[in-house]
């Protein structure tokens, strides 16, 4: 089917699968924020949606300004810009737009929003799962009994940096009735050593298993 100058149904189908230029540009600029290559970011299929989400949340002008700094000198980000850059990173990692710090909402003249998942697909496309060779609950379950296998080693060149700000995730331990604290305590003060390294069955196992907590 040759489209010529008259757009046909076929043509418009082709147009929808083509990556948008600004989505591509957004993914390129997000590489430094996420540590993932633009190729990986585009492969999530989320670039356009994330760009639209960020624009809606902070406004096109602020977003462009932040991305320009990210492009030029990401280390110089500060204040609200840094908060927006963090939000973008969070978005790529979790598929959720976070609640920003209250000051950022004030400066952006926006009402404090609540965190939300931008689409059901965004949750499954979160980069976070790849950082620990995990999979999102409710999607892409690995095969039966694969949970018995030793996870493949993490491919991170460096240990993940602990995040200072308390995340918005609800921890089970927030709820006093759930489990008595004793369930969690007195596990790794044993002569057998910490649970995070090694198992009795596999002596080769005691190499680095980074567990970001």
């Amino acid at each position: 089917m040759s489209g010529g100058s008259n757009p046909t149904d076929h043509d418009s189908d082709v147009r929808t699968v083509r990556l948008s230029d600004e989505g591509r540009r957004f993914a390129e600029r997000s590489a430094v924020l996420t540590g993932f290559a633009p190729y990986d970011l585009l492969a999530t299929g989320m670039a356009d949606l994330y760009l639209a989400t960020a624009r809606e949340q902070v406004g096109a002008a602020v977003l462009d300004a932040v991305l320009a700094v990210v492009d030029r000198d990401p280390d110089s980000l500060s204040g609200t810009d840094l908060e927006v850059a963090r939000a973008l990173t969070y978005l790529w990692y979790t598929g959720a737009w976070p609640r920003l710090a209250p000051e950022a909402h004030g400066l952006l003249r926006r009402e404090a929003a609540v965190e939300f998942i931008v689409s059901p697909e965004a949750y499954t496309e979160g980069l976070v799962w790849r950082t620990f060779t995990g999979h999102p609950a409710g999607a892409r379950a690995p095969g039966f009994a694969t949970w018995a296998l030793k996870p493949s080693p993490l491919s991170w060149p460096e240990s993940p940096v602990p995040v200072a700000a308390p995340g918005p995730l609800l921890m089970w331990s927030d709820f006093p009735s759930a489990l008595p604290p004793s369930v969690f305590s007195s596990v790794d003060d044993s002569p057998g050593g910490s649970l995070a390294t090694g198992s009795g069955q596999d002596p080769q196992n005691s190499h680095t298993e980074e567990t970001p907590t």
Partner: protein
């Protein structure tokens, strides 16, 4: 036995031998029992259904994925007509918590998880742990001078445990349970082989034999790491029911290999009590076998 879902006006036009209120595990099994006897049974359920269709299943999956915090009720849409208590109703406030939901919770220890008012009840999002109570626990007064004895003993319940394990298609290791002092017929096996322990389970196995001090009992105990029988899909045990085997309701794929989703807690195999038929006739609200419905974090804590 046929099952139909209907709204009030339609249901109202007929007469029934029995009316069961609530389509949770308990109500469903009671209705199944009556239905098997040829009775006309009406089950009244306050909450919504719909997940037994493909569209309903997809909607539940999307609802789960869209939830910011994945908790047991995340796959179920809010239903103003039958509100479900939700762990997210609780907000820790430094000293304790505030509760702002269906349950009024003013006590010191809030109920810290969900209940589900929907077809299937809380069995739609439970963890699937299917423990028989230890015989000692029926007689704590006699054995330990504490609390009260039950008016019945383990052996009164044993046949019912066996029946429940068939209905739920429990995966477990009966020998391991017997060694723990939970008796069953020496030939008894669970309907399914036990769920293979995870890598982390094996890591935790190093706690086996560790002596810990129990400050309440003021005694030392040696820990024993064992698996727990689970109402989750595993591999059917061909030795079940003295060699008859076990066939889950709605099973697809190769016998003894497939016939399962992948062992998630959201995937309870239901016993097919009639000979295999092509049409998926059923008499209990069947859960959609792939619906993700709970997060591992919000674990149910027994006791």
């Amino acid at each position: 036995m046929t099952t139909r879902t209907a709204h009030g006006t339609v249901a109202n036009r007929r007469r029934y031998d029995v009316i069961v209120v609530g389509a949770g595990i308990a109500g469903s099994l009671i209705a199944k029992q009556f239905g098997r006897q040829g009775w006309q049974v009406l089950i009244l359920e306050a909450g919504a259904g719909g997940r037994e269709t493909w569209e309903g299943h997809l909607d539940a999956v999307a609802t789960f994925r869209s939830a910011v915090a994945k908790v047991p009720n995340s796959a179920f849409r809010y239903n103003a007509a039958a509100v479900s208590p939700d762990v997210l109703d609780l907000a820790p406030d430094g000293l304790g918590f505030t509760a702002n939901g269906y349950f009024v919770q003013n006590g010191g220890l809030p109920y810290g998880t969900d209940y589900l008012r929907a077809v299937g009840g809380s069995g739609m999002h439970w963890l699937g742990i299917c423990l028989r109570i230890h015989p000692d626990d029926f007689a704590v007064k006699t054995r330990y001078g504490y609390g009260r004895d039950w008016p019945i003993g383990y052996h009164d319940l044993e046949p019912y445990y066996t029946a429940a394990e068939r209905e739920i298609g429990v995966a477990g290791d009966a020998q391991e349970q017997r060694e723990l002092g939970i008796p069953s017929d020496p030939h008894y096996v669970y309907p399914m082989h036990k769920i293979p322990p995870s890598y982390l389970d094996e890591v935790c196995r190093r706690l086996d034999g560790r002596v810990v001090h129990d400050p309440v009992a003021v005694e030392d105990f040696a820990l024993q790491v064992v698996s727990v029988p689970q109402g989750r899909n595993s591999t059917p045990n061909p030795r079940y029911a003295r060699g008859l085997g076990y066939l889950p309701e709605g099973a697809v794929g190769l016998p003894n290999y497939g016939e399962r989703c992948v062992g998630n807690a959201s995937c309870v195999p239901l016993y097919r009590s009639v000979p295999r038929r092509p049409s998926g006739r059923r008499c209990v609200p069947r859960r959609s076998s792939l619906t993700p419905s709970r997060s591992p974090r919000a674990a149910w804590s027994p006791g």
